[in-house]
Amino acid sequence: MSRAWTTFWTLVIGVPLAAFIVWALSDNALLFFVTLLNGLTLASLYFIVAAGFTLVFGLMRNVNLAHGSLYLLGAYSGWLVGDATGSWLLAVATGFVTAAVLGLLLQLLVFRSMQGQDLRQTLVTIGLSIVLADVMLWIFGGEIYTFDPPSWIYGSTTLPVVETYPTYRLVVLLLSIVIGLALWWLLARTRVGAMIRAGVDDRGMLAASGVNVQLVFALTFAIGAGLAGLAGVVGGSALSIAPGEDSRYLLASLVVVIVGGMGSVSGAAIGALLIGSAEQFGLAYAPTYGVVFSFVIMVLVLAFRPRGIMGRAAA
């Protein structure tokens, strides 16, 4: 895109956005900042879910449409442990481990044998998500489950400007930043991360240089699935767990990852920020058409950057 076009689009998108911010601030500054914080916390939740999704796709070209089921599975198993032991932290750990183990099993037993057959892998994940959703509905029924997080994160915190804000949401925000940094550290600073990055760029060369690619795949799938399970407990504590949440978070991670660019963790962060705030601002300022905003963002991104904001043509 030429510089003139960039300027043009910056103006077309930036000016109305700036006008909206000025109007919203002068109209009701409190609402604006609360919505902004809500958007940020929702974005953090989306980021945790979508980071695993994008990691798995980036390395294995496997669109795991059972990602939402992993989210729900982590949430339910975390709830079981949390209910039995009373420890919320243990519930979070359980959510991560359960989903990670299932992800590992899926990679080893199913996807490994159909490497490179992308469409079939996707169809299998669809079948799995149908079966998993129904099994979970069978076991846990249609009731809504809520977590019991410890009191130190459940109250409200006094902040400047927005006065009081639920502490838990701030914890989610903090957690997603920690997870983001941990992922960055893993990918950029460790040997395994270097292998994963090399695998994203060129699977064949990585295998040729003597790395056990299957091991890297299994590990990545476990981490990606585990993040979904962890998000299940964290998100389930912010809202609740119920059947149907799986497709909600699957859709969220799809849109986030399409906007941000498949396979890029930083893209997932940008996409989550855009979609999370679009949803919350839509909810606050135009309730009926809230969903349409994230859709419009997706359409705009696709029309001008078909591979997403941080996406690039893969080999």
Partner: protein, 377 residues
Amino acid sequence: MSAASWRRAMNAEAAARMPARPLPTQPSVVVGIDPSAPTTSRWLEFLRRELSVRHVVVLVGVLIYPFVASPFFTYQIGAQALALGLIALSLTLLAGYGGMVSLAQMTVAGLAGYLVAIFGESAATAISLNWPWWVAVPFAVALAVVFATAVGWLSVRTEGIYTIMITLAIGMALFYLAQQNYTLFNGHQGFNQLFPPKIGDVDFRAPVPFYYLALACALVGYFFVKHLVRTPFGVALQGIRDNPRRMRALGYNVMAHRVAAYALAGALAAVGGVLITWYNNRISPGSMGLGVMINILVIAVLGGMKRPIGAFVGAIVFVLLQNFAIDLVDRERFNLVIGGVFLVIVLSSRDGLLGLWAMVRSRFSLQSRNTNQWRHP
């Protein structure tokens, strides 16, 4: 995924199944598109080439079916399978012949149903415009086709797996829009009392007339697709499926062909959507939710996407399972059954039930191994 690896996957599959497809080099294609032949003889030629004994048997079978089956089987099984099969056929056209797996076909169908409710008559008198059906239905189908074209325009920018995700996201976006919007879509309750029209003395609400209506639409759709894939456009579309870069180098406008395929498939899906809306007598966001969108994919994949009949085979199996899974397992566990069947089929066959059938035939009949039993009918 990259265009190159997607193409590789598609080519590998194409190589394994090569004889099962109509080859662009077959002389019959040239006959089919000979512009100098008069229209009527072209059609006769088309019929002669396309119709074989088993077509006649199936045709007679589906025509006398309502006279031997109970109204339940005519309506709940027969008509529903035909309407669902028509929507799945649109996916077969896109995915099997165009290489684009779109999950938004049910969304197009649902939108057509919604538009029929908005333009025509329904229980929601504040919204419905009460146009006569012969105005409302063409309008609804036309607008749904426009929507399908827009979906196509958006999603053809992407390849392979991206297409699935983008069409899924579009479908879910429209689902949530329909659920939250009350001025146009009437929110989560949608529209009730959507009845098929009465033409003269024939009331299409009755099982047998409705069955024949669905059958007529399904037959037109089936032969339309069969004919389309032999036209220059259809052959080019299959070429684009197998190797878009080469087709581009040959001077074909790849994007325009793909968008056109979306539009044509959208027309099929829209007609199917109107039928399924009339069948249910209602439309709500749930009629185009994630589960239903995936059901259409399940139907198409279950039957097999290499040939148009697969969509209907899949639909019949799906509807039978839906209605009789209750006898096998708990009523609530239908999704488990259909998901399990789907998984087994996907894991064991590359081309659904038709692929399994071909495998069984080639294994058990040594004689037919030598004759060309893979040939396209």
